[in-house]
């Protein structure tokens, strides 16, 4: 295991984690419509990143595919989360949970961003054009995930916190 494989593994884990968290947040906040829809779109980006990382990993004898995730779209947990969200849709308190989730999403995306940075730097230093290309194509989307969480917190927090 060298520095590159370490970083690939960390990123792969981070992107899958972020995808899971984005989907879970989309379900928990079914009644916050923009958050729900955009979070699902952004989960798709992380899904694609993880797949591309797994593909890249094969060149470094890394098996990153692993077992399928814990997600069960359309399954019982999804249904339960969405129902709970709708039941609580008339109350202000879930707003706090939303801010909490957005904060976690921001941090998870920021962590991935730092790992993409490390991967890109190492790829440059060790002349690994394949990895540099991968980082250059995925990292901008990670930064957009960070900015989305930031903007959403910025726009929603005055109303949510001000109304408590």
């Amino acid at each position: 295991m060298n520095g590159i494989t370490l970083t690939l593994r960390a990123l792969h884990h981070g992107e899958r984690h972020l995808e899971d968290e984005l989907r879970a947040a989309a379900e928990r906040h079914r009644t916050e419509h923009e958050v729900h829809h955009v979070a699902l779109d952004l989960a798709g980006w992380s899904h694609e990143h993880a797949a591309r990382l797994a593909e890249a990993g094969r060149h470094y004898a890394l098996d990153l595919d692993g077992p399928p995730g814990h997600r069960d779209p359309g399954g019982a947990l999804t249904a339960l989360r969405e129902k709970a969200s709708q039941a609580l849709g008339r109350r202000p308190e879930p707003g706090l949970l939303l801010l909490h989730d957005l904060k976690d999403l921001y941090l998870a995306a920021a962590e991935n961003s730092l790992h993409w940075e490390m991967l890109a730097q190492t790829a440059q230093a060790t002349r690994e054009p394949r990895l540099l290309e991968l980082a250059s194509s995925c990292h901008p989307r990670t930064l957009r995930q960070v900015r989305w969480a930031n903007t959403t917190i910025k726009n929603l927090s005055p109303q949510i916190l001000g109304a408590l």
Binding site: T31, E34, H37, D41, L42, R144, W148, T151, G162, A163
Partner: protein, 832 residues
Amino acid sequence: MEASVDRIADPWGGRTPYARGAAWPVRTDTHLAPGTTTDEVDRWVQTASLLHSNGDAMDIAVRDGRIVGVRGRAADRVNRGRLGPKDLFGWQANASPDRLTSPLLRDGRRLVPCDWDTAMGRIAARSKELLDKRGPGSIGFYTSGQLFLEEYYTLAVLARAGIGTNHLDGNTRLCTATAGEALKESFGCDGQPGSFTDVDHADTLALFGHNMAETQPVLWMRVLDRLDGADPPRLICVDPRPTRVARRADVHLAPRPGTNVALLNALLHEIIRTDRVDGEFIGAHTVGFEELRRRVASCTPEWASAICDVPAAAISEAAGLLGSAERLLSTVLQGVYQSHQATAAAVQVNNLHLIRGMLGRPGAGVLQMNGQPTAQNTRECGADGDLPGFRNWQNDRHVADLARVWNVEPSAIPHYAPPTHAMQIFRYAEQGSLRMLWISGTNPAVSLPELGRIRSVLAQDRLFTVVQDLFLTETAQLADVVLPAATWGEKTGTFTNADRTVHLSEKAVDPPGDARPDLAIFLDYARRMDFRDKDGGPLITWDGPQEAFEAWKRCSAGRPCDYTGITYDKLRGGSGIQWPCDETRPEGTERLYTDGISWAHPDVCESYGKDLVTGASVEVVEYRSLNPDGKAVIKAAEYRPAHEEPSQEYPLQLTTGRTLYHFHTRTKTGRVPQLNAAAPEVWVELSAADASARGLAEGDLVDVTTPRGSLRGTLRITGIREGLLFVPFHYGYWDTAEGYGPSGEGPGRAANETTVTDWDPASKQPLFKTAAARLTLVRRGDGVPAPAPTTTASAPARPDGIRPTEGGPDARATQSTDVPRGDSTPDEAARP
């Protein structure tokens, strides 16, 4: 020459062909109440149309204190005397016997009449209580695209600096938010680049999701006259329905709804591949071309063909026309704006013009259209999600400048986040942090998506709802206080159409009963709330429309929408005037960006832009490094599939839209005999192939169902693309037994029972054009055809046995091509 024409049967009237570069000939349209002659008219009072965004100038005929008809204003640059069917007949709604004539107050399940003092006292008391206990974020305002400039500006001042709330938006969110956002993304600032006169000069017209024949019939008359004249323009139409525009097009692309970005990227791909770009213009006036080139490199017509279900050869053919145009005029409307990726797609149309250098010259321009007559004013006055005068909420200097105009501290104007958009205002009301919602001149209980949800939000006990309108609309029936408003013809003010033309609309008659102008209502509220500036003087210093207009001029001074050169007197008699209009441009400005891009510099721009997928705000530092010199921004976008795609359970796509004969939720047009008879009931459009596959026929009663709800209507078989349903969105419940919603659990009549709560993350405009649905037969129609017009995109695929739409003797209007004498003579020299 004078002729009498049934303008329901022939909505666009007779032709006056003209050649490229020539002036559009005058044709004066007049309709007077049956039995009234021109000689019997006491006065003609100047105004413009309030039933679409075209701004057709007209005079109201007054006899014995009543409106008895209208006549187009031949001197006006917009319509040169012509009127559309809604212009000709719509005025009759003013005199409906069921106009609201007194304020109403909720008493348990009933609304009971009261006097103005009681109603306004109740509103002021609740406002003060909420401000005291819950703060300004507990109060929100949802206004319209149909009030006047003076009213929006007054509302913006009282909401933003008086109450101090960020929650003020218009129903323009549904019709024009993407137009504004797309202009901000590309040019740094709102403001329509082109002019309607570009129709006179264009050699190629491209209409993207814009059924101009029905949404702006008078502008379509201008196009028809060009098509019938010498050197006619080539016409490209992008629309999934067989509109009148599609029938006249050289190339008609009928893409699968929700695929506009794929189609536009393929068109851009072809233009770049065939090197039809204007390198000099790109270098001098834009940033971002390389990214666009990379983004569309793989977007071949074949790639787009698979996504859009349009032949690749047709895409190439359209690209060939766009690429070889020397004067290209493009227009964009709801087919683009009410889809997902709305802003991304609208911006690609801007990009088409930027890479081809088709901007700021006669015939070379973009028209990002509006749906409603005064939508432009909602945008510029800051009664929607922007600060007044296109000021940038992220730029502290702009906020300070606005504070100077209002003589308040900058901290008195909320600017910690973008002004709250309508869909989020309703979410705050649903979730309980917003406790008072004041709705003026709009009907969200029919016009917003997912009506079951909207009704339940409005009906909450904890939400105090004020509704200000002409009639007891579906929304008004759910209100706590109802305020009777005066309308067009009963009050004075100005408004601005989709090509920046400002018109004066003068009071012709008194409003019914105790109804009051919207401006008077807002001013009364401001007085009761005792809003003050930072020196303790009154925040709002004006008392009538003309003073409000002068106050707005001070706010607009030096801004892109500069009104300082316009006065009420200057607007009287002649033509409307296009802003910006100031000392140096006393006749107004026909086209923006004739000398490069003027409002995109980081210091002056209205917006630094947004991420088109996530909606995240771009910050100033980022914008400054991307665009330090203030050029136009070429913003590339990747195609993304819609959130709701057809499935086994919901196999069809559903799109909603307008018909020529109605406006908004039929509040006015449903009360006009000629217009109502032309389209009296809701219908559902389906292709012949889909109908025969399901064993359905014209006139069958069907249910359209989505995960949100159902509506019931009669089937019309048309040439619409396969796999697609269309339902007009105008029909609600005010003229049914139920009043404000469907009876019991049964299917409703409103298209928005079925639409989804989802919006474009950049413009926040809701998606009315892309949903998945299923169709079920309720009852055979026994050969009685659907109540859909035959003159429009709803025309039957097989006309046999279906009676053509006609208006009869009461729908006749005269059209005269004689040049009128006196003050209506077109002033060719002064206003090209």
